[in-house]
Amino acid sequence: MERTRERYYLSYPKVLIKEPILYQLVKKFDLMFNIRGASVSEDMGLVAVEFEGTQEQIERALAWLRQIGVTVEPIEKNIIE
């Protein structure tokens, strides 16, 4: 399977800030990740991350992240203007 790298911003709502989400992600989907930037405030967390895996692994991981309430967007964020 061809491996690919994709770059995302993950926005965590307040209730998820203390959850070890990226750890769970690796365990569940066997993805590699590389954090390039992160900030946490009282209300939310923001992580800039690069995932490496197969397209299918990444798709499934993104679907899971969205399902648990993480906003997942390409690092370009909203580009539909």
Binding site: R36, D43, L46, V72, E73, I75, E76, N78, I79, I80
Partner: protein
């Protein structure tokens, strides 16, 4: 001659050569064009610029192109209207409208950013330009691509009105509708930009594209006689125009085109898509994404690419920001049209409605010089105000019918004033 020195990461400061790159490889921060301001200072003067053609390229030294541009020869240099009747109604003595409803050729401020992006696309040798858009950006890219002789592919999410599609296909663009929600479209377009090597104006050409927005600020200052207003109110969607107008004002000082003055830069968002204002009001640095729900479709962006930089520019200038509800937006559109004969799209109604709030909050004083930014034309968004207009009278084609109507309405300003 270009005065551009390269691209620089806005976060970590890493330098990159001029190329179709938009994100820092190290920290994923956005890249911005850097200039040799000392050299520009020696090359420009108000008198020299005033001799140039009335288009956005009159500020060539502060734009990121190598050669005299061929794109957008009639874009920019839109009117700065002193609006006495509206000013009297609101109680602002020196009120101006920067009127991009008449920008050439597609009647919105996007003609500025796209002129610069497509000029740069040609310099880089791209054959295809592209964007993801539901409105003004799509139209501007399609029209400028046609004139530049470039292929154009426009991506739109499912459910876009037929009229929006015509606004691109009429120029020969190929429109691709993507099934799925906005998140899916965003992600796919990022992947396509990466894989196909096209010039996506607001993705891989974003550093150049956003520079075009500075021309809005340059023009305001020049049209005020090379000085800054005390306040400018700008809409925020993706976050392009506001930080770039602030940058334009800084650059004008840096290169000696203006010598002094401070302008408070204020942000306007629709209440149904206000992630930046929410962060501003909370005093937060991070922007929590929202799901947009407003009639102001052209500024309905839930997670703006440059939202953080909007916050920073507003705070640095000691400006502020407010939201406008859909009904406030419509009332403001009608007020501007009724008093000044300018028909704005809902983004313009938003900036005017927010100006009125800032005045009520005494953040703007009626004696100060205020510029309200109108970035798009209401003729493109008739549906937004369709139910809010005064309905016409319908009569048979007989004089006595009109006589009866006139009698009925006599005393009302609408018809009696014509007698």
């Amino acid at each position: 001659m270009s005065y551009v020195t390269g691209l620089k990461c806005r976060e970590c400061g890493q330098d990159y050569p001029i190329s179709p790159l938009h994100v820092c490889e190290t920290c994923f921060g956005p890249l911005e064009v850097a200039y040799d301001y000392a050299a520009i200072r020696k090359a420009v003067s108000p008198a020299a610029i005033e001799q140039r053609p009335h288009n956005l390229w009159r500020y060539l030294e502060l734009l990121p192109v190598d050669a005299p541009p061929q794109i957008g020869p009639n874009s920019g240099f839109t009117p700065l209207l002193k609006v006495e009747r509206l000013g009297a109604e609101l109680g602002i003595r020196n009120l101006y409208i920067k009127d991009d409803t008449v920008n050439h050729p597609t009647l919105s401020y996007k003609d500025r950013v796209v002129s610069v992006a497509i000029s740069k696309a040609r310099e880089f040798g791209f054959k295809t330009v592209s964007c993801a858009s539901t409105g003004n950006l799509a139209t501007a890219v399609a029209a400028h691509a046609a004139r530049a002789g470039l292929q154009c592919v426009i991506f739109m999410p499912e459910g876009v009105e037929a009229g929006k599609i015509v606004g691109s296909t009429i120029y020969g663009a190929q429109v691709v509708i993507i099934r799925g929600n906005y998140d899916d479209v965003n992600r796919l377009c990022s992947e396509i930009a990466d894989k196909y090597g096209w010039a996506f104006v607001n993705i891989n050409l974003r550093p150049y594209y956003t520079e075009g927005a500075k021309t809005f600020g340059f023009e305001v200052a020049e049209q005020l006689g090379w000085r800054l207003p005390q306040h400018i109110v700008l809409p925020t969607a993706g976050g392009t125009i506001l930080p770039k107008v602030a940058k334009a004002f800084r650059e004008l000082k840096e290169v000696g085109l203006i010598s002094e003055g401070e302008c408070r830069v204020h942000c306007a968002q629709a209440a149904g898509a206000a992630p930046v204002i929410q962060a501003l009001h909370k005093g937060a640095d991070l922007i929590t994404p929202v799901k947009p729900n407003t009639i102001a479709k052209s500024i309905a962006i839930g997670n703006p690419a440059d939202g953080f930089y909007v916050l920073r520019a507003v705070r640095e200038s000691r400006g502020w920001g407010e939201v406008a509800s859909d009904s406030e937006i419509i009332e403001a559109i009608k007020l501007l049209a009724r008093t000044e004969g300018v028909f704005a799209e809902p983004a313009g109604g938003t900036t005017l409605a927010v100006t009125i709030k800032l005045l009520a909050q005494k953040r703007i004083n009626g004696d100060e010089t205020v510029v309200v930014s109108i970035t798009g034309n209401g003729y493109k968004t008739l549906e937004a105000v369709g139910n809010a207009i005064t309905q016409p009278y319908v009569i048979e084609a007989r004089l006595r019918e009109f006589d009866a109507l006139f009698e009925q309405l006599n005393g009302r300003r609408s018809l009696a004033g014509a007698a």
